[in-house]
Structures are given as C-alpha cells and as structure tokens.
Symmetry: C2
Subunit: 216 residues, 2 copies
DNA sequence: GTCTATAGATAGATAGAC
DNA sequence: GTCTATCTATCTATAGAC
C-alpha cells in the first residue's frame, strides 16, 4: 500500500501493482531478446525480478500474452521518441537528415527492441496483431516524414516522387539490418556493423543515401 | 545400394546416404524457418522425410549441428547465384543495377534463407561460426562489387568514395528487411512489402537508391 | 543403416495455503 | 497478492534389436 505520508523512494514511484508489472516487463524484455520466444524461460524472467513465476501468470496470463505486452511497450518507447521530434522549422533536406538520424540512434540505443522485432517476425507477427486489437500502436514519425516530403517536393529540392511509407521502409531497413544482421554479416565479411568507431560513419551514410535518392 | 544396371529414377540421382542427408536438410530448412531454432521440432523434421528421427542424430549428431548444416547449405545456394553473375562486360551503372537486382531476386525467391539468417542472428551467429570452422563460406558477389566500384570511380561516373562491404551491407539491408520485417511492418503501416504487385517497384527503388548514392 | 521404444531432463502452467 | 511445491506435457537424445 502506498500512502501519502510514506516517503516516496526512487523505486516506489509507482503503485505496487504497476511497479511489479513494470519490473516483469523489463526483465521479460531482456530475456526474450536474449533467447527468442521459445528459448526464453519464464523461470529466468521471474528470477530477474523481485517477484515470482506465479505472479507472471497472475498478471499476464501466460508466456504468449507476456511477449505481446513486451512488444507493445517496446514500440511505445520508439514512437515516444518520434513524437518528440520537431523538424517543422528546418528545410526539407536537413529535416529528413534529422529524421533518419533519430531513427538510426534509436536502433543503436535499443538493440533489444530490434531483436524483439526480429523475433516477432519469425513468429509471423501474431503477438503484435493481438496487441493491436486492444490499443492502437501508431508511428507518429510517418506523419512527420510525409510533411517533409511534401515540403521538399513543393520547393523543388526533392525530384523523386517517393511514397512516405516506402521511404520509411528504406530507412528502417538499414537501421534494422545493422543491428539485427550484425552477427552473420560480421562472420561472413569480418566487419562489425555496430562497432562504436564506425557509428557516425554509418549514420552519415544512411542520411546521404536517403538524400541522394530524394534529389534523384 | 545403387548399381550400374539399376535404372536411375529422378529421386535416385544421389547415392542413398547423400540423398538421405539431402532430404533431411531440405526438411530441416523448412521446419527451422517455420518455427525458429528452439521452436523447431526434430520429430517434425523426421516426419517430413522418408527417414526417422534416429537417422537425424546418426547423420548430424544433434539439433545444433543440423541447424549449422542447414545454414551452410543455404549460404552455399546464395553464393552459387553470385558466382554465375557475369557483369564484366557492362558499364558500371548497369552492372551495379544488375548486382542489386540479383541480390533482390534471391531474397525474393528464398524467404526461408532470410528467415534462417534472422534466426541465426537471434542466436548470436554461433552456428555459422561453427560451420565456418570446417569449410569457408565465401561471398563471391563481394569481389564483383569491388570491381564494379573501381571501374566506376575510374571512369568518373561514381563520385562517392564507397567501400564495397558497406555498399553490400546497404543492399542486403533492404533485401533482408523487406522479407524479414514484413510482418511487423505490415501490421504497423498496413503495407505488404512482399506483395507481388509491388515487387518490381521495390526492386527498381533499391537500384535507383544505390545508383543515386554512388553518383553523389 | 534403419527401426521401436524409452530414458532423462525440463518446460509452461497451476493448486492451494496464507 | 504472494509464496512453495508440483503436475503434466513434451522435447532432445539414446539404447538396443535387426
């Protein structure tokens, strides 16, 4: 029970139930990302929390629903970043560069999200579909991209007639593959796509590519 | 036993042992691609062959080694395609377009390979590393790309100073994501990246992007 | 080389007390 | 809401006959 006269300690900012839920989701994110859906162990998730395996079933119902909740939370974090992005005052070229960089940085900072997305695709997207039945998961970044492309076409700096969804796919592809494909790529070509020393290089490469494409 | 006076039936072109091995690999490719490494069932793989579960252990030693063999075979097929590629007589722009298209087509035609690569990355590339300890897996397409880039820079059509490995990563990223990320992308943006009606569009988009980037 | 039967380990899920 | 103990199913792997 949280009462008003109880001092708010750092790990007590949430009511107990919400905090337990949040703890479980945090631990589950790591475990699912580590081992995949079938490789993940509910036992191991419980061991990473202050609570027990029984509570996971109590709060989420089962492994499947837990994974769906983990996914939903991960996407929510990504889209939160996109919402904060304010590029309305920038010229189209700079704006699209910023958008590509923000997408790049988020993948860079959250390899777990990338892994979860990869895992979810192995399983045909079934959990995400389930999650979407309850709350919509929207990507605000797409609307921003649409505006940038319109502005660029109007001012004549972008000659290619590109669809916003397609361009978003292109940007996502590069960001995703750099993280999700790094092990096989590294093994075959002896190059670590995620080496810190090459991070700025790849971020610039992505933005240059997108802009070159838009300028036709 | 295959003897000289026995008629060679279509499914008897290989000696029995090799044929059984090949059958198992074929079935295992499908099952691993369907369910992931931990989700795949050795029982199910056996059921898809003319042989039994016991033989899988007899031939491959275990599930892990079987998956490694499946990967090795899948990469072999990809690199076989790259070897057949003859672009020496083409101008650099056309040559790089051809290379991008061949890579695109191979991913399009072999979604199972794409899924296997995704699965292998979930598991940190350990099986591929194991496979490489025995036989090298080389990507001949990379040498071709290097030659094209050199020729393009010399003739002055390519102004960007791009590394062949990096450009290969960029091309692979797009081809990979279109297949490996289609479920989550489709769920979020309501667009099927692998719809047959859009295939030519995306193939051209990839080539256009690469060429625009190389022309600076 | 090929089969049947089974060992041995471990997972997800739950019962039931408090 | 939280714990311990356990059920039930299932999976990889192997023994052993032929």
């Amino acid at each position: 029970m949280t009462s008003v006269d109880e001092p708010v300690r750092p790990d007590r900012r949430l009511p107990d139930a919400a905090r337990t839920r949040s703890d479980i989701l945090e631990a589950a994110t790591g475990e699912f990302a580590r081992a995949g859906y079938d490789g993940a162990r509910v036992e191991e998730i419980a061991a990473r929390t202050r609570t027990t395996k029984r509570m996971i079933y109590y709060y989420f119902g089962g492994k499947k629903q837990l994974f769906a909740a983990v996914l939903e939370r991960a996407y929510g974090a990504l889209h939160g970043v996109e919402e904060l992005l304010d590029v309305g005052h920038l010229d189209p070229v700079t704006a699209v560069r910023r958008l590509a960089e923000v997408t790049f940085d988020h993948h860079e900072r959250h390899p777990d999200l990338v892994r979860l997305v990869g895992i979810e695709n192995i399983h045909g997207g079934e959990h995400l579909a389930a999650a979407r039945r309850f709350g919509r998961i929207d990507a605000p970044g797409l609307a921003t991209l649409r505006e940038i492309l319109d502005a660029g076409r109007e001012s004549g700096v972008f000659t290619a007639d590109v669809d916003a969804v397609d361009l978003h796919a292109m940007i996502s592809a590069f960001c995703f593959y750099r993280v999700a494909g790094r092990h096989t790529f590294g093994a075959l070509f002896d190059r670590d796509l995620t080496a810190p020393a090459r991070r700025d290089h790849y971020r610039a490469m992505l933005a240059d590519m997108v802009i070159a494409y838009l300028k036709g």
